[in-house]
Amino acid sequence: MNRKILGFVLIGVALLILPHVLTQVGTAWVRIANLAILFIFLSLGLNIVVGMAGLLDLGYVAFYAVGAYLWALLASPHFGLHLPFWIILPLGALLACIAGAVLGAPCLRLRGDYLAIVTLGFGEIVRIFMNNLSTPFNITNGPKGITGIDDVSIGSISFATTDSFFGIPFTGPVKYYYMLLALLLLIIIVNLRLQNSRIGRAWVAIREDEIAAKAAGINTWNVKLLAFAMGASFGGIAGGMFAAMQGFISPESFVLHESIIIVAMVVLGGMGNVWGVIAGALLLSFVPEILRYTVEPVQMALFGRQLVEPEVLRMLLFGAALVLTMRFRPAGIWPESRHRREMSEARGAGA
């Protein structure tokens, strides 16, 4: 028990000093870390839908878009609105939650592949809406996107500038990092509570057998809708933070590819397990970036010239890593305990 506490304290301290270490390497790495945390938000949100309730949602990025656009519209020169973050962020979560329920309601009668196709369609519809809502009334500014989005500011501290506290410089990205870390802690706690709650067990029951779940008295319709809505609200929070950090958003940021990456994070990490999903999100966020910075120098050192474009090789290695993980750890890097238990017992029984 004491070792466990010590472990948490050490991880906590490491996470607190991490951005300052990364700043030494380059501010770009702090931004990469921030994006990685955003992807953890998204994966944890999607994990509720895919991992816990077993509903394959390929349009999850739509809720990310809803949160991002809400922030962009309420805190930018586009409409001349500049609301504070503590109003927009909960509002973004709420709007995404409603969007989740609205998108979820008509497709929850569908199962498996059909649900995946319909959600994929909804994801695209949202993006195309954002792309076209510039006429007759200019709401989203169409494909040009929205620029000059406000940074977060808490009291007199703006996240756009560098401040010094106790002689240590805190750049904008470092401040965002701490804010995201605090939000992450909150989101992890919510997820862990959900995993072991009555509603969490109902989600798992639906995933395992829907008819039996109904026979056990679970209102499957409501419970599935709740999974969609709660999952979506995490996407909305991530979207809002994304808009503030980037200062610019356009429909280009919310393509199908993003949805697929988030699904890959959940599946690769270990569906249903909060820690596994976090591991998956971190891996798929950092590895491509590390490759981006190493592929070219390594080739120069080995062959004296660049044989393969970094981008091509990056995706190739990325794909290979996914295939290998699925081959050797089919339940994910860090699977849900019940899944792991079942796998090992099946193996034991076969032997």
Binding site: A205, E208, A212, K214, A215, A216, I218, E336, E345, A349
Partner: protein, 244 residues
């Protein structure tokens, strides 16, 4: 079809003019049946006769038309998840256990709609007494149980809802003969405790030997309804379902 709702009398479960359609195909074509409290009744018939559709319709798992009465209450407008709270439990076709949950977790899900903790604990002890095999395997993942044990678990889970009526869909399906006997022993034991049983079964002989009364279903219609003894002696039943 009757204009006025039928009077269920003292039947526990009654269906009048029950119909199930899949697209243009009528799987169940206006059948009527009644089950009284404490009875053990079976519905037998060939593959595709509409037995499972009938049971699923009674449990409100699939859309149907016609009347369904349960204790003087109309069920045909109720959503399926409310039935367990009224005392009607379904053991679905293919068992439908929660494969990745443990045996204990599966049983706990059976009492999902209840909040009376002390009574739930008592019922759990009761189920473990009835099905000692489940107690031995309480912490095992349900997906790793044998077929027979899974069927026992499905029955145990249904009993955790403290039902007055148990609907069983093909409990013998895919089980070794020895296991089938054990499962039916359990069903008899449950009935002996006063739970009304409605059993859908392809194994006609076993079903008729277990139950007091039976319905025979053919192409979506009930063609015979009588006491189990008479059905067992009926030449049509013997020829079609008992292989004689």
């Amino acid at each position: 079809m009757a204009d006025k709702p039928a009077d269920p009398g003292h039947a526990l479960l009654m269906a009048v003019g029950l119909e199930v359609h899949y697209g243009g195909i009528a799987a169940v074509q206006g059948i009527s049946l009644a089950i009284e409290e404490g009875e053990m009744v079976c519905l037998i018939g060939a593959n595709g006769a509409g037995k499972t559709s009938t049971l699923k319709a009674l449990a409100r798992m699939i859309p149907s038309s016609g009347e369904i009465h349960y204790r003087k209450e109309r069920l045909d407008r109720l959503p399926s998840h409310l039935l367990i709270g009224k005392g009607m439990a379904l053991v679905p076709e293919g068992r439908g256990i929660f494969a990745r949950l443990t045996v204990a977790e599966n049983l706990a899900m059976g009492a999902y709609h209840r909040s009376d903790k002390a009574d739930i604990a008592a019922d759990l002890a009761h189920v473990y007494g009835l099905l000692p095999r489940l107690k031995e395997r309480a912490e095992q993942v349900a997906g790793t149980l044998s077929g027979g044990e899974q069927q026992m678990l499905a029955i145990g889970r249904a009993l955790m809802g403290r039902p007055q009526l148990l609907l069983l869909d093909e409990p013998s399906m895919g089980l070794a003969p020895l296991m089938v006997d054990k499962v039916f022993e359990v069903i008899r034991a449950v009935a002996a405790e006063g739970v009304t049983i409605f059993l859908v079964e392809q194994n006609a002989r076993l079903a008729l030997q277990t139950c007091a009364r039976g319905y025979v279903m053919e192409s979506g219609r009930i063609t015979l309804a009588d006491s189990a003894d008479k059905l067992l002696a009926d030449p049509r039943v013997r020829a079609a379902y008992l292989g004689e």
